[in-house]
Each structure stands twice: as structure tokens, then as C-alpha cells.
Amino acid sequence: MTAYIARRLLSMLPVVAIVALFVFLLLHLAPGDPAAIIAGDNATPQNIAQIRKALGLDEPLWRQFLVWAGSLLHGDLGRSMFWNEPVATLIAQRAEPTVSLAATTLSVAVVLAISMGVMAAARAGTMIDRFVMGFAVFGFSVPVFVVGYLLIFVFAITLKWLPVQGYTPIAEGVVPWLENLVLPSVALGLAYVALIARITRATMLDVLAEDYIRTGRAKGVAARPLLLKHALKNAAVPIVTVIGIGVALLIGGVVITETVFNIPGVGRLVVDAITRRDYPIIQGVIMVFSGIYVLVNLAVDLSYTLLDPRIRY
């Protein structure tokens, strides 16, 4: 097992290296002088020369990449042009709201989606099933920001049940923290719930058709343990795989959700960087988010042995 984890960690390296190479080349293959792009439209030639020197843009390309990648390995994501602070520090300062949002969404969405999927499969063909499947198509189709504004309009502006926007740090109390996270989590989680509910239903339908389920039923296993212990446990591997792949959906959604709900997180950091052409921030956040995605999917791979003892590494 340890050897397997080590091997998998090593196999992550090329993927991360390709992400790094791609993110690096983006800036340098774009038409025009990267220094001029970063400096913006109103830059003087002196500004541009200064930036070129500061970023080492006079060096050959391969050398620039090695220097940049080397500092990445030391946790140095570069320096923001606008804030004049290390990108890693800026991301760390804004991590709490983003992590809170992602964590609440992930936990609620997974529980909700798996229950919906199991119910739909257990009652296949009934109204419940049709409702879940219809909800899934709907969830895939409505964009995060439209759901977000709809939720704000109904629950914050009209009914006044929840705050409109913003974020309260957890240190200032769990209740206000949660109150601010309810609507954004629902908006962000909708597509994720749809994705997981659909795969749960599909896998459960496959498993429920197996012989051992019929045997269980014949020998008198009660419906609930049969469904949850015998069937769901064996459906776990594909479901967990999709939960891992779907994290990409959450990461992309975070950027938009934080803008809709005015949450000062990492997503907002990126969006603000777009207009300021603060390229190091965009690069740094892409590296961090991609790294998280790769790590989550590694964890998913490793969880297979726990979920299915037949899988041995």
C-alpha cells in the first residue's frame, strides 16, 4: 500500500508538470510582449522595461521556465503586480471563505445526492424516480449565477430569511457563518447534486439487478439494510469516482458563486485579477486549483481499497 501511494504520488508529477508548463506557456505564447500585456494599456516604455527586468523576461524561455518551476516547488507562486505581495500570501488570506463554501457544499451535496439517487433506483419508474431524473437535467442546465440571483431574490430580498450577500468568518460565530453560506452552497451545489444523483441511480440500478440482491431478498433481508448495506456499498466505487471528477465543477463554480454572493475568497481574487491584468495571480490560482483537483482524485483512487476489499494494490 505504501509503495502504491508513493508510486501514485510520483505519477502525479508529470500531470502537475504539464499543468505548470501550460500555465507558463500561456503567457509567453500569447501574441505580443508579455511585459506589455502585464503592464496594461497605459504603460510607458520605462514601466515595460522595468517589468521585463523584474520578471526576468530577457532570459531564454527554457531558463525562465526552470526558474519559475523551481520557485513553484518552493511554494513561491510569484508576486502580484497590483498588490505587490506574494501570490501565495494573497491566496492564503482568502482561503477561509472558499474552503468554507466548498466544504459545506461538498458535504451537503454528497449526502443529498446519494439519498436521491438511492431513492430513485429503489423506486425506479415511479414518480420519485422521474422527479429525481427531471431534477438532474434541470440541475445541469441552470447556470450557477442564475440560480444564485433567483435564491437571493426569493429568500433574501422577498422573504428576508437570509442575508443577501457577503461572508462572516467562522470565528465570529457559527450561526452567522452558516447563514451566509446557505444560499451560495445551494447555488454552487445544484449541478454537483445532479451529477452525483444520476450516477448513484445508474450504478444502484446495475447492482440491484445482481443475483446476490435477489438471494438477499429471498432469505428475508429487510429492505433498508439490503439497499444500504448490500447494494449501496457495492455501488460505491463509481459514485466516489464521479464525486472526485465533479470537484472540477465545484472549482469552476466557486469563481462565479463568489462573485454573485460577494464572498471575498480565492475566486474573487481571480476575477478581480482579470480586469487588473494581474497575471501572476491567475497563474498562481490555476496552479493551486489544479493541484487540489489532482490530489482529490488521488485520494479517490486510494479510497477504492477501503470501499472494495477486492481491490488490492
Binding site: V15, V144, L150, F153, A248, R277, I286, S290
Partner: protein
């Protein structure tokens, strides 16, 4: 000797066939119909709607009325006209991304699946691309270039390609083990002929289904980019930038947000319905799994 007479296809016969198709594939028909309706409106935008850029400061934030079906926004622009013109961008970007991503994904997938030596490096590259959240990749690509519809299309297509490559590759890998491929190799067919004539056809059904999903995701990404201010130039009305521009007026003028928002959701829903219907019809194995 028997004489085979061909029965002339009469109009009612065709109509009956159409009806049967609609009855058996309600989702395809519903999705395609809704999409065709939206496309028609987008095409006829210049005829059915006024100038989407016309500013009328005396009629700011008016609610829906007979004159302005969808009301007016904070600059007094007609929301109906802007919504109708916005359909153009969504549909053009969605279609173009689907075509681009499928074309490149198909070419790369065929090569990676068929030639074992290129498989590993190409797939590692695709794994790397897939690890980058697509909206962030698109943001980076758009923010580095001058905003234009073309850049947005390319920026959204690049992150879609790896998913198509994976699909095509998996189909190629299973097809190339089939006896008829062995027979073709034994018969002395050249590689490009085997790929194009014997392997390519089996990728078409799953690709048609995949194309609809790519289109749905491209429309959503474009709207997201426009919403974040990293999309097409702001003077072109899109559903995303309409919603972004009106967000301060959510409480006082919700129609400025919900009309374009509803259209956006409807178009994506139409494409998804069509995709689900096509999948059920063309790819029964996948349909059972999902």
C-alpha cells in the same frame, strides 16, 4: 417471376413516420424543437426586435409592458431586444465550440488510440489539460488576448478537447481488437484506410451524443465568462453580460436578470434534452448506465 413494385411514399405516410418518431423519442423532439425555435428567433433578431444598443434615459428600469415586452434596463435599453440578440452569441459559441472540440478531439483520439507509441505521451498531456479547471483556463486565455468572439470560442474549446479525446480513444481501443480490423490488416489495408474506413464509423454515434454535451457546457461557460467580464467585448449583448450589468438592480428590476437567465437555462435545457434523447437512441449501452 415476381414483380417488385415500389409503393410511392405518400405525404400521410411520412407524417405518420414523423409522429411515430416523436412518440418514441419525446426528449429529442422536445429539445430539438425548443432549440430550433431559439435559433429561429436568433436568426430573425434584426426583424423582430429593435436596436439592442438604443439608450433611452427617460425610460430607465421600466417593467415589462406592451412596448417593452421584457422591460428596460438601467440605461433604458430594451431587454427583449438585448435578450434576442444575446441568443446569437450563445448559439454561435455553442455550435462553434462543439464543432472545434469534436474535430480536434476526434483527430487526436484516433491517432492516440491507434498508434500505441503516441498514446502515452498524448494522454499524459490530456490528463494535464483536464486537471486545469476549464473556466480558469478560458479566463487566462481570454484575458491575455484582445476580447473577441473568436478568442472566446478557442478558449472554451481547448479545455473541452481532452474529454472528446478520451471518449474517441476508448472507442478506438475496443474497436481495434475486433476481428474485422484484423482482417483488414491481413488483407493489406493501409493504416489511414483502416482508421478512416473501419474505425471512424464506430466513433460517430458516441460523438454525436458528446457533441450535444460539449455544446451545453460551452454555452454555460460562455455565459459564465461574459458574466465575469472575461468574455466577448462588452458592447455585444450576451446573456452573461446582461445579467452582470444588471446585478445591482436585482431588487428593483428583477426582469433585467430573469429574462436573459431563463432563456439561458432554456437553451441549455433544450441541448441537454436532445443529448439525453440521442444517447438513449444511439448508445443503448451508455443509456442503461446513466
Amino acid at each position: 417471376m415476381a414483380v417488385v413494385t415500389e409503393f410511392p411514399r405518400t405525404a400521410p405516410d411520412r407524417l405518420w413516420q414523423l409522429r411515430r418518431f416523436a412518440r418514441r423519442n419525446p426528449t429529442i423532439v422536445a429539445g430539438a424543437g425548443l432549440l430550433a425555435f431559439m435559433a429561429l428567433i436568433a436568426l430573425a433578431a434584426g426583424v423582430i426586435a429593435g436596436d439592442p444598443q438604443f439608450l433611452n434615459p427617460s425610460e430607465r428600469l421600466h417593467g415589462p409592458s406592451a412596448l417593452h415586452w421584457f422591460g428596460t434596463d438601467h440605461l433604458g435599453r430594451d431587454v427583449f431586444a438585448r435578450t434576442v440578440f444575446g441568443a446569437r452569441i450563445s448559439l454561435v459559441v455553442g455550435l462553434a465550440v462543439a464543432v472545434l472540440a469534436i474535430t480536434f478531439g476526434l483527430a487526436i483520439g484516433l491517432i492516440a488510440g491507434y498508434y500505441r507509441r503516441v498514446d502515452a505521451p498524448v494522454m499524459r498531456l490530456m490528463d494535464g489539460l483536464m486537471a486545469i479547471p476549464s473556466i480558469l483556463l478560458a479566463i487566462a486565455l481570454v484575458s491575455l488576448n484582445k476580447a473577441s468572439v473568436g478568442i472566446v470560442i478557442v478558449a472554451i474549446s481547448i479545455p473541452e478537447i481532452p474529454r472528446v479525446v478520451r471518449l474517441v480513444r476508448s472507442v478506438v481501443l475496443s474497436t481495434r481488437e475486433q476481428p474485422f480490423i484484423e482482417a483488414a490488416i491481413g488483407g493489406g489495408s493501409r493504416h489511414h484506410k483502416i482508421i478512416l474506413r473501419h474505425i471512424l464509423p464506430s466513433t460517430i454515434a458516441p460523438l454525436v451524443v458528446q457533441a450535444t454535451y460539449v455544446m451545453a457546457s460551452a454555452i454555460l461557460t460562455e455565459a459564465g465568462l461574459s458574466f465575469l467580464g472575461a468574455g466577448v467585448p462588452p458592447e455585444i449583448p450576451t446573456w452573461g453580460n446582461m445579467i452582470a450589468g444588471s446585478r445591482l438592480f436585482l431588487a428593483s428590476a428583477p426582469w433585467t436578470i430573469f429574462f436573459p437567465g431563463t432563456c439561458l437555462a432554456l437553451v441549455v435545457l433544450a441541448v441537454n434534452l436532445m443529448g439525453d434523447g440521442l444517447r438513449d437512441r444511439l448508445d443503448p449501452r451508455l443509456a442503461r448506465r446513466m
